[in-house]
Amino acid sequence: MFSYILKRTLGAIPTLLALIIISFLLMHAAPGGPFTLDKHPPPEVMANLNAKYGLDQPLLVQLWRYLTGIIFHFDFGPSFVYKDRTVNEIIAQGFPVTLAYGGWAFVFAVTIGVSLGIVAAIFQNTWLDYLSIGTTIGASVLPNFVLGPILILVFTRWLGWLPGGGWEGGDWRHMAMPIIAMATAYMASIARITRSSMLEVLTSNHIRTARAKGLPSWKVITRHALKPALIPVLSYLGPVFVAMITGSVVVDMLFSTAGIGKFFVDSALNRDYAVMMGVTLLAGFLTIFFNLLVDVAYAWIDPKIRY
């Protein structure tokens, strides 16, 4: 097990390096650097600016500096637009907010999605099944940027229950709508996956044996059916967690929560490549990390899987 984790971790390193190098090259292939402004400052000023940010060095030197900065100091460099701040500071400010509502959204999506899926599978072809499947189909065509405005319309404009935006240090009233907007579509997918894999497990031999030896129905499900049924769900969770962070771009725009998405959009509009790069790499790290975590959990849950 340990050697498997080690092997997978080592395997992730080239992926990370490739990610850093590709995004670095992209950043430099872009027409118009961070200091191409409408005003044209005198050439000496430009030279000084370029020297300060190391942009006058050969490309390979710049790449080496960027790489070693990230690896040894976890330093993504200075922001090109906010002159007094580094990318790290910007991430440190936005990420906890994103993590707060993203984490809750993840928890809700998984618990509600799995329960809906199990209920639908156990009561297959009854009104309960149709109700939960209908709900999930409806929810799956409501991505966060569609659901968000509808939530604001209903809960802020018509009912006046929840504030339309802001963060206020994570007060639940400010968190409720971002969480719902983010969780719904993923909840739907999780419910569908759970239902179909639960249906498959329920017809398998070991469940028939368990029923035949007279176990009560709830025990058959919790003790024998649940664990194998959850394996396909598990493999879906790694990407979902990362998608929660992507989703923060929309949530931060709609609800003015100052998460990482806000900084990403701001930096995209200001051509602040350093911040964009930092956020992209962060998302890449998290993707790789969660895929690794899911694979390890896989090996732990299903003893048949050997690597």
């Binding site: 992209l26 569609v146 929309v250 956020v279």
Partner: protein, 309 residues
């Protein structure tokens, strides 16, 4: 029933008069199953409505998508209501532009992005997967390793990065969405190619001296079409979703052109000014497209899935 009760001569007569049993091909079988699936038919109908509207919507209405009615501008909440009398069937936006024509244009662009992006992704993914699976060995593991790396790249962020860096144009959007979404396709195709590789007809082609690349194009790829078709129908709504997301952020299609994502974004902001139709109509067509592709794709998968007989 015992043997003696069967009227043997009559049975023989009936059998001899029966027509020859017609074989059913995979596709005939699949289409029969597809057209029995009510949800899939509903999906097709929804898609047909969207396609017709996207193609002819701008011709039906009396207004063009970029004409600004200055009488309405600034007072959209009262004068820009949907009405049959002044020809603004879906109302106008806050700049007095006709929403019927704009929604038609948005639906058209969303459909186009979905189809073009999927086409690029199908071509690249199929060729890549087929070559990787067919050639095998070290080439295969190297090529698949690259796919692994690409799959770890946060797709949406890179897409935004590319759009910001190389300009926000429709062409770049089409191409980059297509070029970023092929890895999953490549994986599926490779898996299928591995099982095809050892079949007799491939061996026959090899024995008669057909060059490798020709075998891939003429003998491997046509046999992959079923699985590729299924996956492609499921990819279209995903790409439409991506485009809408990008346009929602204001990084996609530029004014006065529009797409469903941009319209939804504008409509979302207009919620505060009591012009609900600005959100409702683009949203309606967006959801019809999504439902349509989901149902049709699911139906196609069920129809072609060999496990589900």
């Amino acid at each position: 029933m015992t043997l003696s009760t069967i009227d043997m001569p009559a049975l023989a007569k009936r059998l001899s008069s029966l027509d020859e049993v017609k074989g059913r091909s995979l596709w005939a079988d699949a289409s029969r199953r597809f057209f029995r699936n009510k949800a899939a038919i509903l999906g097709l109908v929804l898609l047909a409505i969207c396609a017709l509207y996207a193609a002819f919507g701008q011709l039906i209405g009396p207004h063009t998508y970029d004409f600004q009615d200055f009488d309405i501008m600034g007072d959209a909440a009262t004068k820009g209501m949907p009405s049959l009398a002044n020809g603004h069937f879906f109302g106008t936006d806050d700049q007095g532009r006709d929403l019927f024509a704009r929604t038609a244009m948005g639906t058209r662009i969303s459909l186009l992005v979905g189809l073009i992006g999927t086409a690029i992704s199908v071509v690249v993914g199929t060729l890549y997967g087929a070559v990787s699976g067919y050639v095998g060995g070290r080439t295969d593991s190297l090529m698949m390793r690259m796919v692994d790396i690409l799959m770890a790249v946060p797709f949406m962020f890179v897409l935004i990065l590319v759009l910001v860096m190389f300009g926000k144009s429709l062409i770049i959007l089409y191409i980059s969405i297509g070029l970023l979404s092929w890895p999953t396709m490549a994986r599926i195709v490779r898996g299928q190619t591995l099982t095809l590789k050892s079949r007799e007809f491939i061996e026959a082609a090899k024995a008669t001296g057909v060059p490798t690349f020709r075998i891939i194009l003429r003998h491997v790829v046509p046999n992959l079409l079923g699985i590729v078709a299924v996956y492609a129908t499921l990819l279209v709504p995903e790409i439409i979703l991506t485009e809408s997301f990008i346009s929602f952020l204001g990084l996609g299609v530029q004014e006065p052109q529009t797409s469903l994502g941009t319209l939804i974004s504008d409509g979302a902001k207009a919620v505060y000014y009591n012009t609900l139709w600005q959100l409702a109509f683009p949203l309606l067509f967006f959801m019809m497209l999504m439902f349509g592709f989901f149902f049709a794709g699911d139906g196609l998968r069920d129809a072609l899935d060999p496990k589900d007989r």
